[in-house]
């Protein structure tokens, strides 16, 4: 595929976009697993939320 005389700009643009999107996805995924880990740990220790306690 011939990207013409300014190929490096096109490549750079796509690279930056890919990087930012990847960073965003990575942050979301890592945050999710971190929160899940903490939540599972807390639930394991028997801590419950007020709305979960019915007794």
């Amino acid at each position: 595929m011939n990207l013409g005389p300014h190929a490096e700009f096109i490549v750079a643009a796509y690279a930056v976009t890919a990087f930012v999107v990847a960073a965003l996805i990575a942050w979301v995924a890592l945050d999710y697993s971190a929160q899940r880990r903490v939540l599972d740990d807390l639930e394991e220790r028997g801590v419950t939320r007020r709305s979960q306690r019915k007794e």
């Binding site: 990207l3 096109i10 643009a13 796509y14 999107v21 999710y32 419950t48």
Partner: protein, 243 residues
């Protein structure tokens, strides 16, 4: 499913967990199609292959503005209708909108260098986007540095609305200022009439990016709800230890 059902965080989480895999799949498929179409699209008769940057720059610009619009609606939900998940929606939209605005600025700059000869130009569009990014950073500062999620959320909601009112004014001022200082030429990015061969890939990429936005938005909302649960559980834990 009525909006009121979505007000319950637990039910919302169940919905998100079910829907998210499909959204991810759809996003990937659309990006695949879009990128193939974008790469195989013909070159612009003036700009050559650099028009391919348009497929990134234009959707990013739309989504940057869409993000702020979403935050404004969420702000109304927080302040006026007191919807329980409205502030979560607003807080989740901010980083995504900011990221897309940033992408818009960088790709615009990289598009400008070969076509206009300079990395930055104070034209109306880029400058307005820059101010939008600054506003995003302000809102992010409010949302993510508050000790208590609720308080930062309300302040950020007000700023979202103030910004929404001010954004057309800023756009108008920058436009006006630009014509004042650059009477010579008006740079048209891609032109107002885009050839169909270029338009279709653009629309597919725009759709792909929008799906990406929605997917990330729901995922971040889920994270935020979990984060608040952790916080309230830790508070309960601390109370029980104390008692």
């Amino acid at each position: 499913m009525p909006v009121t059902d979505l007000a319950n965080p637990t039910r919302f989480l169940t919905l998100v967990n079910r829907v998210l895999p499909w959204l991810v799949a759809a996003t990937c498929v659309l990006f695949a199609i879009g990128l193939i179409r974008a790469m195989s699209a013909p070159d612009d008769y003036q700009q050559g292959a650099t028009v391919k940057i348009m497929y990134l720059h234009v959707p990013a610009a739309w989504l940057g503005m869409f993000g702020w619009g979403l935050m404004s609606i969420a702000a109304l939900g927080t302040l006026v209708w007191r919807h329980p998940l409205a502030d979560v929606a607003g807080k989740a939209a901010a980083p995504i909108g900011a990221a897309f605005t940033f992408i818009c600025l960088v790709t615009g700059s990289l598009w400008g260098r070969p076509t206009w000869g300079t990395y930055w130009v104070w034209d109306a569009r880029l400058t307005s986007m820059l101010v939008l990014l600054l506003l995003y950073l302000g809102v992010l500062a409010l949302y993510w540095t508050a000790e208590e999620p609720g308080r930062g959320a309300r302040a950020a909601a007000i700023l979202s609305l103030v910004g929404a009112v001010n954004l057309p004014i800023i756009k108008f001022s920058v436009d006006w200022w630009n014509t004042l200082h650059q009477p010579a030429s008006v740079f048209r990015m891609g032109g107002s009439t885009i050839a169909p061969a270029l338009l279709t890939p653009l629309l597919i990429m725009a759709l792909a990016f929008t799906l990406l936005f929605v997917t990330l938005h729901l995922a971040i909302m889920r994270n935020e709800i979990l984060r608040r649960r952790v916080r309230s559980m830790r508070l309960v834990q601390a109370q029980e230890l104390h008692a």
